[in-house]
Structure formats: C-alpha cells, structure tokens
C-alpha cells in the first residue's frame, strides 16, 4: 500500500490531492497492519487454543473470531462497495454475548470467512477514489454530514482499526507469549 501511494505522492503536484492521498495511506496502512497482525495470531493459534476464554468467564477466542468477522463483513455496506456475506453470524457473535447457546459454524469455516472478508475489503478499498473517502458513509443522513464532515468513509476505517486493536490485545492472551 505504502509503495503505491508514494508514487502518487511523488508524481502529482497538487497539494490537496497529495495530502488526501497521504492521509488515506496512513489510515489504510494502520488498518491493514492490524488485520495482518490479527490474522497471523489466528493462524498461529490451534483450534483448541481458540476455544479457550481470553480470561476466566470472558469471551472465547472463537467468539472474537466470529465477532471480528461479522463486524468486518459490514464494512462494505458502510463504504457502499458491496453487500454483506455473513449477516447470519450476527446473532451468535454481535447481537448476543458468548455462550448464549446460538448455533455457530465450525472453527475451520470461521477461519475461512475471516480471510475472505478481509481480502474482499482490501480489494474494494483499493478501488475507492481519493475524493470518495471523504464523502459520508451510508449510515449518515446528508443533513447530519453537512454539520459533521468527519463522519466520512475513511472514518469507518479509523473506527474499525480501533475495534480490531482492542480485541487483538485480548486475543494475545490466548498465545503463549506475553503482550
């Protein structure tokens, strides 16, 4: 990502475009970095480790895998780039707490969904023109956006970066190393 954007930075002279592009790069790099770290952690945890709770009586690794997958699955809707693929995960992983008795997919399937949804987001965000990032996201009414210009599509990525890093800190507790 950074490499692509640097080309734009060096070739174009328009300062507004440059700053926009740079800010988009910074935001997307932070996002992709956390997705990468979290995916590496999931890949390094066995199904048995993922079944453990992050702390006694708290969410399991499987719940957080399903939760992050479902939350990321909704990102394209906010960006206006596509529909949801896994909304059936919401009951078990978003609207209700862990251990509430909902049927859930196998861990193997959840691992696949996680990679698929993030790959899809990566492909879609790469095609969003710079200007478009600063338009309102689909859940903000136009009248509100006029007064709150920060509620744009890029802000969705900023918010979801905070969300994934919050849960990454918890998921690290399932690994053998401290962090």
């Amino acid at each position: 990502l950074l490499k692509n954007i640097q080309l734009t930075f060096c070739k174009k002279g328009d300062p507004m475009t440059t700053h926009q592009q740079l800010f988009i790069t910074m935001t997307l790099s932070a996002w992709e970095g956390y997705v990468k770290r979290t995916t590496a952690l999931f890949d390094g945890l066995s199904d048995e480790q993922l079944a453990h709770d992050i702390a006694p009586g708290r969410n399991s690794g499987i719940y957080l895998l399903g939760h992050l997958t479902a939350v990321h699955d909704a990102i394209p809707v906010f960006l206006g780039t596509g529909a949801r693929a896994y909304s059936h995960l919401d009951a078990a992983f978003v609207s209700n707490p862990d251990k509430a008795g909902f049927a859930i997919p196998s861990v193997g399937d959840l691992r696949k969904y996680w990679k698929e949804v993030n790959a899809r987001i990566s492909q879609q965000v790469a095609k969003i023109p710079a200007d478009e990032w600063f338009n309102r996201h689909t859940a903000v009414p136009e009248a509100d956006f006029a007064k709150e210009p920060h509620r744009n599509k890029l802000n969705i990525i900023i918010n979801r970066t905070g969300h994934i890093s919050y849960h990454l800190g918890q998921l690290m507790l399932l690994a053998n190393k401290n962090g």
Copy 2:
C-alpha cells in the same frame, strides 16, 4: 475538539487547509476518545482491582497503567513539543515485563501521572499548526522522510491510538462488565 474544527471547516474556503484540518480532527478525535474511555475505566477501578492481573500470569492493571503513562509521556518528544517528565517509569513499565522486581510509584501517584501526561498532550496538540502535523516526527531522519512521508507527527497519534485501544481491550477484563 470536533466543534472547534467545524468552525474552521465552515469559515475557511481554502480546500487544502480544510482537508488537512479535517484529517487532524478525525485523528485527534479517535485519540481523545480512547484516552477518555481508558481514563474512565481507570477511574472506575479500585486500587485492588488494578492490582489484579488481566488474565492468569499476564500483566496487572497497575503495570498497564504505568506502561501507558510512560508511552504517552514520550509522545511530546516525537511531536517536538516538550521533554519527558516520567522517563524513570521506563525500567519498570516499558523496558521490562511485569513482576520483574523494579520499584514502582504508588498507584495513587501513577493515577496522577496518567491524568497529567494526557492533559499536557491535549494542551500541546491543540497548539500545533495544521501544516506542522504533516512534517516528520523527531525520530525520522530527513532523508528517510523524503521517501516515507507518512512518518509524520500525525502518524504518531495514529500509532499510539492503536496502542491504547489494544491495552484498553485488556484492561476491560478487570472490570465487572464484559467487553
């Protein structure tokens, strides 16, 4: 913060300034939001709760309070706005793991340092001109910055926002509610 920036957004016509200001608002709002949530959590935890480990054999709440305080204390150095006040915390809370036997301040003092350092950062960032946020942070050599323009002061805030949300997710495990 948002209110101040909106005035700028509405009054000034220059699109570059407007966009720069908007990026800064988005970044600082996310940052301030996490600092506020984390401070509210610390305030709501008793000294006894803070002394607990976030999970068996992991970092204690006191360690994470000291760790976040020390890391935030270094932010003004990167921004070029001031010197460190609590570098003596680094041995116990940054360079070494929890329970390594280093002397630490009282929890009451750590709570004070936490509020003081974040208040200081808030005051300092409010005075940084828009252009200055896109200049290199003090740990990046000029030659590197020419090739990597994302390594600017605003990126320090983006990175530290990821850091605090990561540890907030862990600190939430000390509270009675799930999350």
